[in-house]
């Protein structure tokens, strides 16, 4: 059932792949605007690069997450799947994994933009990708749940960030810290502690949100 749900999600994402480009441009524009706030001080830009990368990713993620339920609500397709009956948990994990993959891809695509704008290169590319994957997992699990909750609300673009941002503060903080240590240097090997914390929060988000999704989408 999970494979069927994931296959459907990936197919829907592939069909709306032009939207990914738009979200990437939005994220890159956000990174550019943040750089103006700091000014042309190379050291400062480098110092704040991790925080700005995750802020750009966070803002872009709300667009991706809100859009992920648009197709489900258009012709009440989600209700149609639930009546088949499809397992709500499988539907949730299918969508959350698809959102996670998309956000990870977006995060990786924004790294070169960050490197160019903030002069924030690193040789630990593998570690950076792992942190982006873990951090976006922390965004996509609760983000998918809240996107389902707000999908039928008229002001969903406002409501989704209002609900999501406070919840993901611990994961966001751990992601920024770990990314910052990877970029600026980590002589005391502190990044592994932040990564472990991130894994712990991801485990909590993914298990709790999977349990709650059925209650959110069923009347």
């Amino acid at each position: 059932m999970l494979i069927a749900a994931l296959r459907k999600e990936l197919l829907l994402q592939w069909r709306s792949r032009a939207q990914f480009m738009a979200v990437f441009v939005f994220g890159a524009a956000a990174l550019l605007l943040f750089s103006f706030a700091v000014g042309p001080v190379a050291e400062m830009l480098r110092q704040f690069s991790a925080g700005f990368l995750w802020l750009g990713l966070l803002l872009s993620s709300t667009l991706t997450l809100a859009e992920s339920f648009h197709a489900e609500m258009e012709n009440r397709a989600l209700e149609g799947l639930l009546l088949l009956p499809a397992n709500p948990r499988a539907l949730y994990y299918g969508k959350a994994i698809a959102n996670w993959l998309q956000l990870t891809l977006l995060g990786i695509a924004l790294v070169p933009v960050m490197v160019i704008l903030y002069d924030a290169g690193t040789t630990r590319v593998g570690s950076l990708i792992v942190v982006i994957a873990l951090g976006t997992a922390g965004l996509s699990a609760p983000g998918t749940l809240y996107a389902a909750m707000t999908a039928q609300v008229r002001s969903k673009q406002t409501l989704l960030p209002l609900l999501l941002f406070p919840l993901i503060v611990p994961a966001l903080l751990a992601s920024v810290k770990a990314t910052s240590l990877i970029i600026l240097g980590d002589p005391m090997n502190q990044s592994s502690a932040w990564i472990i914390l991130l894994v712990a929060f991801d485990a909590i988000y993914w298990s709790l949100c999977g349990l709650l999704f059925g209650r959110v989408v069923e009347e």
């Binding site: 059932m1 494979i3 069927a4 749900a5 296959r7 459907k8 197919l11 829907l12 069909r15 709306s16 197709a71 258009e74 012709n75 009440r76 397709a77 209700e79 149609g80 799947l81 639930l82 009546l83 088949l84 009956p85 499809a86 009347e219």
Partner: protein, 223 residues
């Protein structure tokens, strides 16, 4: 497949806010029978079908489908029922074939008969076109194929004639006869009394969420 009573509703009630869409509906329907449900707009036809198919929960009374309670044994009911709803349950960005493949995958069924089903509803030539390019009638036909793919024990068809052309009307009637011949219980909510009474065994008229008349389809009042 046919049983003594596939559908058994007792004092079924459902409200939206303060308004009771279904006030007190009781009826039984034998396995393999075709029931036509008619009534003016807002009489509770769609709500009845949505409640029986577990799309919404009743606020009063109870109902059993194939012996399973629509509230407590919702998953079991859903395995038996297919609902043709006002909403098409389709993904606009996917093709007709992909939409049916999504259903087949979630049901754990083979995709092998999807082409045959699309031919059955006269959409074989548009199988690889996205649903976004379909007319309302074509969407209805595809929704019909979706119901057939489910191979339900109880099929609930809400306004099956809506948006269809005269050929579509014939398709609906042929499909209902096929379902009936296969032992499927069918409930049709419609305003097309003359057409539906020709294929239905029994009829029920709803008025303000209550059963106003129940009898043979051939004897249904035409007003």
């Amino acid at each position: 497949m046919a049983t003594s009573a596939d559908v058994d509703a007792k004092n079924l009630a459902r409200r939206y806010g303060r308004r009771w869409a279904l006030a007190d509906v009781s009826f039984t329907l034998a396995g393999g029978a075709v029931l036509m449900v008619a009534g003016p707009n807002g009489s509770g036809k769609s709500t009845l079908l949505r409640t029986l198919s577990t799309a919404v929960r009743p606020d009063g009374g109870s109902a059993r489908i194939g012996g399973f309670d629509v509230v407590r044994e919702r998953e079991d009911v859903r395995k038996l029922v297919a609902l043709l709803s006002h909403a098409s349950y389709l993904y606009d960005s996917l093709t007709a074939k992909q939409n049916l493949a999504v259903v087949a995958d979630h049901l754990g069924r083979s995709r092998a008969n999807i082409d045959a089903l699309l031919d059955r509803v006269a959409l074989g030539r548009r199988a690889d076109d996205t649903v976004a390019t379909f007319s309302a009638g074509m969407r209805k036909r595809l929704s019909f194929a979706r119901v057939l793919l489910q191979e339900p024990r109880v099929a609930m068809l809400d306004e099956p004639y809506g948006q269809l052309d005269p050929e579509g009307f014939v398709l609906v009637e042929d499909v209902v006869r096929e379902l009936k011949a296969g032992g499927t219980t069918v409930i049709i909510a419609t305003h097309q009394l003359a057409r539906a009474s020709a294929i239905a065994d029994e009829a029920m008229l709803l008025e303000a969420g209550r059963v106003a008349w129940r009898g043979k389809a051939s004897e249904v009042p035409q007003r």
